[in-house]
Symmetry: C2
Subunit: 215 residues, 2 copies
């Protein structure tokens, strides 16, 4: 949803020139993170690539942290959107497939390297934790919606399921280099969610997932 | 078990000088991987650090791949030994705690970066996959022993449990930066193994685990 130009509140996503500048800078920042990593991440290089003045970047984002945070958020939100298919099982399958695809891409590998190298006290540590708090809340909302639909037992915590499923896919792709096929993902979701399902899973929406991937 | 010197079969682990040279070279190789990463991994630098001739390294290990493979194997085997406590639950808790501790160390982070950066066709890709095949077989042996004891339902595959548990710990430590405490690990093991346990888990061997960590 684009709102009209609001040049006095440049942090908001706005339409028109302000939005184009933001999008160009965020895209350049994602590109910089992907190809150079966090240690070489440079505002001046991002400014050159996006064809804006460095001062505009500092005015809008305040610091390297602010820009890296928005770039990570934006890249995750675009690459791994939170689905809302009306079925817990289909939602989880769909988001896990997008996570697997992201992790197998140069951008996903760069984000993983960035996360792995990060330690408490370092420049971007709190930025990264903040991004994950936001992402995990979004993933937990998949379960919350299923509780509202009477599909998932609200007494069962979502987080251990999220850890097991996203952890398994992440571990196979990043570490052991075993396939995490769509079928593997479907099996894991069924296995680790069956004990909390109040309504048996509908048809696993394979067709929908397949169409999404082909798109 | 040290065997007598067998200089004609230098690939074997042998006692005496040959073993000392091997240990020094492997330790230097692990150190090189930890501090410089795989791209800068240099046999000549390892040779200098271990105070041996480069030619001795090539004679024994053949190539960078051979030495990196042995260094990764040796480091994992030392840092995360496969337990055999007589209880599936206690074995899993113990090895997961050691994996968490490894992953939080500079060496563990270096190994993770190495794995994440690796792609099919690259120099060390098959080496890495081979190491993981070996590790996964060792982890599956924990379940196989439990089947022999009548503790675990042999009809239930071990691999999805391993993926969920090791994936969850790996993901929290590497990515989300949430704690993977001993209590968290105990909860996850109980949650994701309860449906295959034929004999209810004994006391979760917390004291043993705690002693191990303090040692």
């Amino acid at each position: 949803m684009n709102s009209p130009k609001t040049p006095t509140t440049p942090q908001k996503r706005t339409g028109g020139r302000s939005a184009r500048v933001r999008d160009a800078v965020v895209a350049a920042a994602v590109d910089e993170l992907t190809h150079k990593g966090i240690d070489q991440f440079s505002i001046s290089s991002v400014a050159r690539a996006a064809d804006v003045h460095e001062t505009s970047i500092y005015r809008r984002w305040g610091s390297r942290q602010g820009l890296v945070a928005e770039a990570l958020h934006a890249a995750h939100a675009t690459a791994t959107p939170i689905p809302d298919t009306g079925s817990l099982i289909a939602d989880l399958q769909q988001v896990l497939i997008s996570v697997r695809d992201l992790m197998q891409s140069p951008m996903g590998r760069a984000f993983t390297m960035l996360a792995v190298s990060m330690q408490p006290g370092q420049e971007f540590y709190e930025t990264l934790k903040g991004m994950w708090r936001h992402r995990l809340a979004a993933l937990e909302s998949i379960f919350a919606k299923a509780v509202e639909r009477g599909e998932w037992d609200g007494a069962i915590a979502a987080r251990p399921r999220i850890d097991a499923l996203f952890g398994a896919v992440n571990w196979r792709v990043s570490m052991t280099k075993d396939d995490a096929t769509d079928a593997y993902i479907a099996e894991m979701v069924a296995l680790y969610c069956r004990d909390g399902l109040l309504i048996p899973a509908a048809a696993p929406a394979q067709a929908k997932v397949a169409r999404r991937r082909a798109a």
